[in-house]
Symmetry: D2
């Protein structure tokens, strides 16, 4: 873990961009280039994604996570669609009803199991699908890593994709923290994405050391047909796309993206270890990525929140999110103050 | 005009960011900050806007021009709204139906007069408003500068606002190139915006030397009520907003924004002068900002398009857009080749 | 209870129209009349509603219950709205996501208490409203009678309206079976509607002995402003509105509407009494209107469903709905066969 | 032409229902029936449509013309769709922006040729389709008869379908006055609908002697897949569908529908003949169906409008629409008074 300043566990989006990421934007800041992704930096970034995730994909860039999710879901919805997700899904809890307003679909939030959706839940909804008075559940949306910090295994994702496809549903993966999942499982990113059978994913940048920028990756190219129109219509087509593309090019080069996510994961594990040493502090869930939920005595919880800008969830647990730049020293300092 | 590289007249969004703008992003790239615009850079940028345009405004940031327009229009629409604009308006020609899909309103495009909407056109629509079988025209959207490169005077804008308000319509100004209009008229930006009675404007950054980023400025604060929700719902709330805010802070400091737009305008005027010297070349409209439309003999038009990546419009004119970084030398070189 | 044919407890929409209702349509079937509700029959029907519910209302007609609900909710939603309702609400369970798709709002379904929403649930949502990442709960939608057959008292409705208004929320009442509630409580319909402080209601016809047709009644006239446009836009403006208006005129004349609903309620009570005599049959809830939920031994449940076209709910209870035309004899016959 | 009362040329929706149509509703007004179109009357009506238009169709019912159009268009739109229509199309002029708001598509109105769209206009739009900044024109919507009263021939419709399909566009036909077209051309309705290659049509009832009710007929069954969900979502699923179905059954029986439309056409022709005898009166277009546009001296125009509740169009012509029940005697009486 490298040295940085201040400290926030509010979210990994309160962190800055990695110096190399910023330098990469600077490096493309010369001369005229094709607009709307027709430039060479964008082409190279799309190629880099193909090297990473396989030749058969289609890649589009987006400004932010919500935008990427909406555009990707907009490509999945059909007629009177229902989108199956967990009750803690970002699309359900933190996107202000944009999925409904902008795609016209209804969310069908299901009780989560440590943040995860279960194939059985998909099967159950699939089986009831004949009722024309209810929306047609034809999209499944999962988050990897989940909003609870848990990580789906390859097998779990395969089972979800199988269940969904068995019922004719498309699978969208909100991968705002996909990097943290890959870093946690130490598997190949292609295996953990297209290899599981999912149809489309949002590949996060912002929360993983970018200034801004996400990618939408279609593994099911049928869904990508005429997506260019949706891409622009859903407000995600950057005219100066070189600045998003440059960040991805740099991140994918030499594994910087995994290094950053790995740092965040390590910081979370270390933070958990330190907090557990304090009496009365308990982890709500085992730490698998860069998000922790801890239960702490009220006084301590208040202090922790005040010092790290953390959130308290509805169940009274403190939610702590580490970033690519969170350092051992920062955590050690925090522990001293607590 | 400072020295740069290459040459494109495709659009001012094929240009890079100004070095000072890029440096400003770099300068805020340290430490944790509040997310979603709660950081100090964002506060300072909002203050800078108030200094420029008046205390009574509300400022929100956006990723791109289409996003800013949609969010601002979404704040203006009411019940079964029609949005009055010109036939050449960006919202009508270059936003893929996003206004209709995302706001639910219908555009009511009117024949343009050198790119401009006329108060009489608003009056005419206002007078016919009682018909419950047709959308209710309650929003007027104009572009300053217009898509034809013409610039509304303060008086023209006042007349439009008066006509609109007389019929209970709100006025939205797409100011993707507002800077070019201010630079052209050499008036105060407050006079040319809130001073004309408009309700909300999009204040462009991307096309004026930014990497990305726009601002939505409400002069009518009633329209801004609860806009935070729409802002996020319309996908324009950046989690790391510091990077947009820093660009605006720098641009507004010492008038860089007007210097950049002024350069683009000067380049356009110079380009026009040079082209006019060639036999058979005619300006479609007098050059008022950084967009030119010229009619040229076919062979010359083809060359011009090939060398500058320019567009041909539906009427067969060549559309040339200069940028903050277009140089005299680039134009002189081009002329030699032509 | 008058004599009719066959028997269905599937829903009160499997019943025909009352002979007087049909005759009333027949009676206006002469000559040309103004279209779109500008005819005298429509005027008279609007007046009849004012006599019944008070002078300060605005009345619009609609084709069906879902249409009336959507148009009324469309008049209530604001910016990034959430619509608070119960989990068993018709808008949540039987309108195929039309509320989301057509109004752009998100439903916020709450656990029901015997079919009812509680003021505390509204307060809780109202208190959490500052979060700009979540939809803004500014509409409350309740059903009277509820989908469980229970009936809100005047006091309960007042408490709901108070809670909602305290938080700036509008109150919509789905009154597809409002007649059954009035018949059950034997109170004045004005007291049970506008008198409780609700803003807008859908006044059901179809399920209460009509061929088709509902009314949308605004008690809050501010919400009715320019509603004519929404009314048509939401597909509820009948060009030959005389046929809907004639049904309402007849129903409101001499209390036919309450007579019909009263018959349905009596039939439900009698059916409950008869079923209770069978061993092993239990009411899920006390019978307050024309909907019963009973738990019965599997064999009996199967028979009951087969003989009356009834539904089984997700909890395994049999849902039985009586109609204005359900007769004692029909029930007695059924009991013999069971 | 049979004898009726009063007189209105405002629209064919100011007429009543034909006595046989009303009697048919009366005749099914007995006993319980399946809801939502699961009843036998609805089945029979669907079969009657198959006998008329061919076995390979899918039939759904709707409440009104706008509702039928929206639901059918909702089945046609894809991604970022544009709907090509004429500038005088009902969906463009008389549906309050419902097409945009409820389907998310943009209308692309084209200059009409005597009310008609030309294949060349489709070709032109099809050719320009690669631009991702503009909506994708993938639906063509025409009206038969047109809003100007003109009637497309079989050949003209075939040419439109061919042009549309050549570019991958679906063809929707607004057939609110389809009966008048068939009566005018004296061709087989199957030849004039599915036989021309169109994908879906709205088969009008309301304007042709019904109390209310339309049908949506899919010739392209692929578009009908899962349409049941859209049907309900777009508010067009009548719970007591027997009353719509009974009207269609009766209308299709023994050609009543063509008799009614034929009467209206004859009345229009006779009215035109009578008016032409008056000095200074001119037909704007030859009379092909039941709509006339006449230019008359101001005094006469005022009288005509006052006596028949007719409309004046934007060009100052008087629009006169005859109905199934308009009689020779009514017209003769009018002529005397004029």
């Amino acid at each position: 873990m490298s040295e940085f300043y201040d400290l926030s566990f509010y979210s990994d989006n309160s962190s800055p961009a990695h110096p190399r990421i910023m330098a990469a934007m600077q490096a493309v800041n010369e001369g005229f280039m094709g607009s709307y992704g027709s430039d060479t930096v964008s082409s190279q970034a799309r190629e880099a994604f193909k090297e990473l995730l396989g030749e058969g994909i289609e890649v589009f860039f987006a400004f932010n996570g919500t935008g990427a999710n909406i555009a990707a879901l907009g490509a999945c919805v059909k007629r009177a669609s229902g989108i199956v997700c967990t009750d803690v899904a970002h699309i359900n809890c933190a996107e202000v009803g944009a999925p409904e307003k902008l795609t016209g679909a209804r969310l069908l939030p299901q009780a989560n199991s440590n943040g995860k959706l279960l194939p059985e839940q998909i099967d159950k909804l699939g089986a009831k699908r004949g009722n024309t008075h209810r929306v047609y559940p034809d999209v499944v949306s999962i988050s990897q890593t989940t909003e609870m910090g848990s990580v789906y295994t390859v097998e779990e994702l395969r089972a979800i994709s199988s269940a969904a496809h068995r019922h004719g549903m498309a699978v969208h993966m909100d991968g705002a923290r996909f990097a943290n999942a890959v870093a946690a499982l130490k598997c190949h990113p292609a295996e953990l994405s297209g290899g599981t059978g999912i149809d489309v994913m949002c590949f996060g940048g912002t929360k993983n050391g970018f200034a801004f920028g996400e990618a939408i990756v279609f593994f099911n190219r049928g869904l990508a047909e005429n997506f260019s129109w949706l891409h622009k219509q859903y407000l995600q087509l950057a005219s100066k796309n070189r600045y998003i593309a440059a960040q991805f090019l740099e991140a994918l080069k030499g594994g910087l993206w995994l290094e950053m996510a790995g740092n965040a994961n390590i910081a979370a594990a270390y933070l958990a270890k330190c907090l557990m040493r304090i009496g009365g502090v308990k982890l709500v869930l085992p730490v698998e990525s860069n998000i922790l939920f801890v239960k702490a005595p009220p006084e301590l919880a208040r202090k922790l929140i005040a010092m790290t800008n953390a959130n308290e969830d509805e169940g009274g647990a403190v939610r702590l999110v580490t970033s690519f730049c969170t350092t051992k020293k920062q955590i050690d300092n925090l522990m001293k103050k607590l």
